[in-house]
């Protein structure tokens, strides 16, 4: 279940949109975008089941140098493979929508991974545009699917992913693929728009009926190893902990100091009272009973005598 709220900050939305547009403005092809996986496999850990890779590259210019480097390493076992992307409008049947092409890299320890993923999308036909418009009107799902095994498509089953059609239109149609791989198996495809898509989705017909696609390949991460401390480190650690944080005198003994201060103050006031009492008694009496007048003062004087 999904919770959606109804207000959005247009400022942010716009900024994201602008950012996206500026990023991909150089893309000359209408519905073709290239995505390459940076060849960091050279640095892959030997014995690791699947090296980390999550590098969305958005430029077309970078590949040659990387390709050279990889060919230097002599990965002759690399082979090119292709697998299709299919889409469906609402509950319609799936139809071809484009294809992914990639290099299959075979590792010395037998593992196979995909690199250099490229995606080319077919143009939308008129009927497909009509269907897409219907989806936009009905706020329905645009669904895609890819085979779960790239070597023997469709593998066990298709990987399906879907998005509300209204999330896609920006200037053209922006889409974002994140493909989670495990060897030559596709685990999942996260499909959606690159930006946000808050709940009351606005009905908007795209200006250009062309897709801007971004694809990212992602492999499993290695879990961090549990830290194993040697005795030494533990010892150091313990030593480091040994001196307890020095607290100030006041912080330690405030609870004794406050009552002590009170007592001292009390004593001082008392002492002052005692000292001043002989001299003070009369004026105090006078001020207090100023209304009583001199008559009383006289009587006091009389009594003193």
């Amino acid at each position: 279940m999904r919770t959606g709220y109804s207000s959005s900050l247009k400022f942010l939305f716009l900024s994201i949109l602008l950012g996206n547009i500026s990023l991909f403005i150089s893309n000359s092809f209408a519905f073709q975008s290239d995505e390459l996986l940076a060849d960091d496999e050279e640095f892959g850990i030997e014995g690791g089941r699947s090296p980390d890779a999550a590098f969305p590259t958005r430029t077309v210019s970078s590949p040659p140098s990387i390709r050279k480097r990889s060919s230097d390493l002599g990965s002759d076992l690399d082979s090119k493979i292709q697998f299709p992307l299919e889409h469906a409008f609402g509950d319609s049947d799936f139809a071809p929508a484009g294809s992914f092409s990639a290099r299959l890299k075979t590792w010395s320890h037998g593992g196979q991974t995909l690199t250099k993923l490229r995606f080319s999308r077919n143009g939308l036909s008129e009927t497909e545009k009509e269907n897409f418009k219907k989806l936009l009107e009905g706020d329905d799902f645009y669904r895609i699917r890819v085979p779960s095994n790239v070597l023997s498509p469709p593998g066990r089953e298709y990987i399906i992913s879907s998005v509300k059609a209204r999330c896609l239109p920006r200037d053209g149609l922006d889409e974002h693929f994140m493909i989670h791989m495990e060897g030559v198996n596709i685990l999942a495809v996260n499909y959606g728009s690159p930006g946000s898509c808050p709940y009351p989705r606005q009905f908007k017909i795209p200006a250009k009926w062309s897709f801007k696609s971004h694809t990212v390949l992602k492999n499993s991460e290695q879990a961090p190893r549990t830290p194993v401390f040697t005795e030494e480190v533990v010892g150091e650690n313990a030593e480091g902990e040994l001196p307890p944080p020095e607290r100030s005198f006041w912080a330690k003994y405030w609870m004794y100091l406050i009552p002590l201060g009170l007592i001292v103050m009390n004593a001082i006031t008392q002492a002052m009272n005692m000292a001043e009492e002989p001299g003070n008694g009369q004026p105090g009496a006078q001020t207090q009973q100023a209304v009583a007048g001199a008559q009383r003062g006289q009587t006091a004087a009389v009594r003193r005598r």
Binding site: G4, G155, E157, M178, L187, V228
Partner: protein
């Protein structure tokens, strides 16, 4: 004034000397927790009454418990919970002082000392072929010097010395693992007869030398029509069974090694017979029982081998095994069901007409029918035979009947709790004062004086006992109304017997119980079982006069496509309000976050055909549902295929009868795990009712981290297919554990991580933005716990206070699953000593209090572990600022602090689950752990910062205040006087 200050100081000293209660003291045990011990539904019972000062009954149960019960009061003398896979097959008493148990399909034989339950010996009887098992202890048989126990299991017959468990001889009877029916040992001979059914058609009789195990004679005969199952032994050489059609009775004579079959058609005995008869497992002298046409027919076998119908009873009649009386006669008991009563009859084996005993006992309708009866005899004062009967009822409760009365009863249904839900108690109304009027003022004062003495530590032991008693008896905690702190609640538990119990959290007593008719065996529902409990109606705003209710979901059989049953039960009165079914199958129940005008929660029930059905079936609910139709998503996990799918509601389903509450679903996404490398072993989601106080977490360097909080997160753990087996069955190289965090609306994988060389079983708990899981690390040979925390990066630019003031932040922008989340995850792993049975987390009303993990350890205890120990930001040497934030220096293993055992010294035997319920008081959470035992307590993970402790002496405070006021007045008067004197000087 100085006098006043002195008094104030004195009071200050007194107050500071009162030790604040930080953890439980010995005398506080049982003050806010309770522990109840159960044994489960009794399978076998053996009485031990002869020559024993303490009369007892030894029982074995379906929870794999072997226990010795006090026959006078029903208390447990001792009890042992065997493992969940160690099913007890048989129990008996050997040598008059050892309890012998046979378990695990006849492979483990154990002996326990009768008085104290200590294990004397254990023998593993391994065999190749699985078969049924049998335990037989002949009364006077010695091989050499040893008394023997005969055990059949795994196709082999063993003679075991009962004194030390030594196997004297072993004889393999069948290689195909035939099912043994009976071991017959005629007294004083050297031959033991074993009767075995191989397959369903071959009848084998063996004669074996008792002393050596030598096979003397083996005769075998095939019955072409096939047997339908069990044999009933009439005498030592005649057995009766049915053929596969259930319509022909076959009497097998196997005297002296010659086997012969005699067939009798059931319709010859019962003219109205149709369908199939069922042989009932009985051990009665000279007769057997058949279930024909929903009634039980007792058939006697005459000496000439003829069959004769003796009597016919209703279906709900339970029969005991026969019992030898002192005069060499046999007797047996019969329990029939009446209306709100049961009729107990004890008859003599040779004389059906006369009864030794007939009694009628009132029995609550909620107990259902009698399932099992065990009879025992004793000598009355007039030297005649008296009978006591142990009855196991449909709700798994246990009763001892004697002289027409219930001597004691045990609620052993509570040993098999399947689901728990908490419910509020009614509000205390002005007119109805439930609370007892406080005694009189004098008693009240005396009580507080005692408490005062206790706090000042001048109380005598007697006083302390009195204080303890007062505490336990304080009606405050067991009142029947809601309290201010929300400590008093009802725990509604569903048991395997299909009975609902409402337990009071104050002292664990049963407020009401209800045997649900929908979960009772019936024509339409042969094998019903309860699945889950859901909050159906939880009125708290405008419909306070409505009673809350729960939805009980059940299923008619074990398979997921069997029809489902629903019941709605009022939690105040314990009455069933509504009942549905058996109807469509139920694979999943999804509580929706919507309620109708009477605060009934909308539920979506999914069936095997992936159709979703809306409940309650009202037009109002339908309107609400249709409005929110586009925002309802769920996922399903196919564990066998390794496929996860996301679904949404589509439109009304097309059925023969139009049903506007039924909807078709469609797949939105799928995740296919490669079957050769991954297998799902655990899926965990967040608790939908969990409260999260804040989304932001301020770190020590004044940075803000935003938690990624979504109710739609799923934690999934998979292991390599080879690593599915038990620990140690794979090498670290071919075993790995992969964990995923998945958004279930879009199917996005937010986090994906592999632990190499690790293995299940995985226990996990998901709360707020973190998940903690427990698994085994094969490389380090230790258990590990890992934490994953998920933080939202897209909100990171909200740190600017100016922006916040100007409203230029996206904190109030709606959260949608359709935008690509920018999340970062932090993860860390630690070693942990224990293996864990279950994991839970504390939950509080507002989510402010810090959390504790509750680990159900292998020792059946509950251990509380601060979440701070599982913080991925822990480093070896935290900075001063980090220390101030509460980050603990990183250690490689998690500490187990003995004081943090929630169950202190107690054990929750057979621990299966831990449920936490928030109290109204923010600091406190209620914890209920269930297994064979039940345990309840209150926890305050950050201590009770928002309330005074319960033993806070209000009287002392009052006295102090009064004293202070007096002192102020006295000193005021004094100082006035003094001043006056000064003036007059």
């Amino acid at each position: 004034m100085n006098m006043a200050i002195r008094v104030f100081l004195l009071v200050l000293i007194i107050f500071s000397s009162i030790c604040p209660a930080l953890c439980i003291y010995e005398d506080q045990v049982g003050h806010m927790d309770w522990h109840q011990q159960y044994i489960g539904k009794v399978k076998h019972a053996v009485f031990h009454t002869q020559k024993a000062a303490r009369k007892r009954v030894i029982v074995s149960t379906e929870e794999n418990v072997v226990a010795s019960l006090d026959l006078r009061r029903g208390e447990i003398f001792w009890r042992h919970v065997l493992g969940p896979n160690d099913v007890i097959d048989a129990i008996d008493i050997a040598l008059g002082k050892y309890v012998i148990t046979l378990s695990s399909g006849g492979t483990i034989l154990r002996s326990w000392n009768l008085p104290d339950g200590q294990m004397m010996w254990e023998s593993i009887l391994s065999g190749a072929t699985p078969s049924n098992s049998l335990l037989s202890i002949p009364a006077n048989l010695k091989i050499g010097k040893d008394d023997v126990v005969f055990v059949y299991g795994s196709g082999c017959l063993y003679a075991v010395a009962s004194i030390d468990g030594e196997v004297i001889w072993k004889k393999e009877l069948t290689s195909e693992g035939g099912n043994i029916q009976q071991l017959i040992y005629p007294d004083g001979t050297d031959i033991i007869y074993a009767v075995v059914l191989v397959g369903l058609a071959q009848f084998d009789a063996y004669q074996i030398n008792v002393k050596t195990g030598e096979l003397l004679k083996h005769s075998s005969m095939v019955f072409p029509a096939g047997f339908s199952g069990d044999l009933s032994f009439i005498t030592s050489d005649i057995a009766v069974t049915l053929d596969t059609t259930g319509s022909v009775l076959v009497a097998v004579h196997f005297q002296g090694g010659a086997i012969s079959f005699h067939q009798t058609h059931v319709s010859e005995l019962d003219r109205d017979f149709s369908g199939a008869a069922v042989m009932l497992p009985t051990k009665l002298p000279g007769m057997f029982a058949l279930e024909i046409n929903k009634s039980i027919v007792f058939i006697k076998v005459t000496n000439e081998g003829k069959l004769e119908v003796v009597d016919t009873f209703g279906r709900s009649t339970a029969v005991t095994e026969s019992l030898y009386l002192s005069e060499g006669q046999q007797a047996f008991g019969l329990v029939q069901q009446g209306d709100g009563e049961i009729i107990l009859t004890v008859k003599r084996g040779d004389d059906w007409k006369s009864n030794l005993l007939q009694e009628t006992i009132q029995m609550d309708y909620q107990r259902g029918i009698a399932h099992k009866v065990f009879v025992n005899t004793y000598a009355r004062t007039d030297r005649s035979n008296g009978f006591r009967v142990l009855i196991v009822m449909e709700d798994h409760s246990l009763f001892l009947l004697q002289q027409g009365e219930i001597v004691w009863s045990r609620e052993d249904g509570l040993a098999s709790v399947t689901d728990v839900i908490a419910s509020e108690l009614p509000v205390e109304k002005d007119g109805v004062s439930v609370a007892k009027v406080e005694h009189n003022l004098f008693e009240w004062l005396k009580g507080h004086l005692l408490k005062l003495k206790g706090t000042l530590m001048i109380a005598t032991p007697d006083d302390i006992a009195a204080i303890q008693k007062m505490r336990l008896q304080s009606s405050e905690k067991s009142k029947m109304t809601r309290d201010h702190n929300g400590f008093r609640k009802l725990l509604i538990v569903l048991t395997r017997a299909g009975k609902l119990f409402a337990l009071h959290t104050g002292d664990g007593r049963i407020m009401w119980s209800l045997l649900l008719d929908s979960l009772r065996k019936s024509e339409t529902c042969q094998n019903p079982r309860g699945l889950s409990l859901h909050q159906w109606q939880d009125p708290h705003h405008h419909v306070l006069d409505e009673n809350p209710s729960v939805l009980v979901v059940g299923r008619c059989d074990h398979s997921t496509d069997s029809p489902g049953v629903l019941s709605i039960v009022d939690t105040y009165t314990g009455q069933e309000r509504n009942r549905m079914g058996p109807a469509h199958s139920i694979t999943r129940v999804i509580p929706l976050p919507f309620t109708d005008s009477v605060e009934q929660r909308l539920h979506l029930l999914l069936d095997v055909n992936l159709q979703a059905r809306l409940y309650p079936r009202t037009t109002e609910a339908l309107d609400i549902f249709l409005r929110e139709l586009g925002n309802i998503y769920w996922y399903s996990a196919d564990v066998d295929k390794g496929i996860l799918k996301g679904h949404a509601v589509q439109k009304n389903c097309i059925l023969e009868i139009a049903d506007s509450y039924c909807f078709n679903t469609r797949d939105l996404w799928s995740i296919v795990l490669p079957s050769e490398s991954e297998k799902i072993i655990a899926t965990v989601t967040r608790d939908l009712n969990e409260a999260v106080h804040t989304q932001a977490k301020v770190t020590s360097d004044q940075e803000v981290m935003y938690k990624y909080i979504s109710k739609n997160l799923l934690f999934l753990a998979t292991v390599s297919p080879k690593a599915v087996g038990p620990t140690g069955s794979v090498t670290p190289e071919e075993s790995w554990l992969v964990v995923y965090v998945i958004d279930t609306v879009t199917g996005r994988i937010l986090h994906h991580m592999t632990h190499h060389g690790s293995q299940g079983p995985v226990q996990a708990v998901f709360s707020e933005n973190w998940v903690v899981y427990h698994y085994f690390n094969l490389k380090a040979h230790r258990y590990e716990m890992s934490v994953i925390e998920i933080y939202d990066q897209s909100r990171l630019d909200n740190k600017d206070i100016l922006k916040l003031l100007l409203g230029k932040h996206n904190l109030t922008s709606p959260i949608t699953a359709y935008s690509r989340p920018e999340v970062i995850t932090k993860s860390q792993s630690y070693f942990f000593t224990h293996s864990v049975k279950t994991l839970a987390v504390t939950s509080t009303a507002k989510g402010i209090t810090s959390k504790q993990l509750l680990l159900g350890t292998i020792g059946d205890q509950v251990l509380a572990l601060d979440k701070r120990f599982l913080d991925p930001r822990r480093t070896i040497n935290p900075t001063q600022a980090e220390k101030e934030e509460g980050i603990i220096p990183l250690t490689d293993s998690l500490p187990i602090i003995p004081q943090s055992y929630v169950t202190h010294a107690l054990k929750v035997e057979g621990l299966r689950g831990i449920t936490t319920v928030p109290a109204k008081l923010e600091s406190t959470t209620l914890v209920f752990a269930y297994g064979v035992d039940l345990f309840f307590t209150r926890l305050a993970p950050s201590r009770t910062y928002d309330s005074l402790t319960e033993d806070f002496s209000y009287a002392l405070l009052l006295i102090t205040i009064v004293g202070l006021v007096i002192a102020i007045f006295v000193t005021w008067v004094w100082s006035e006087k003094k001043e006056l004197q000064e003036k007059w000087r």
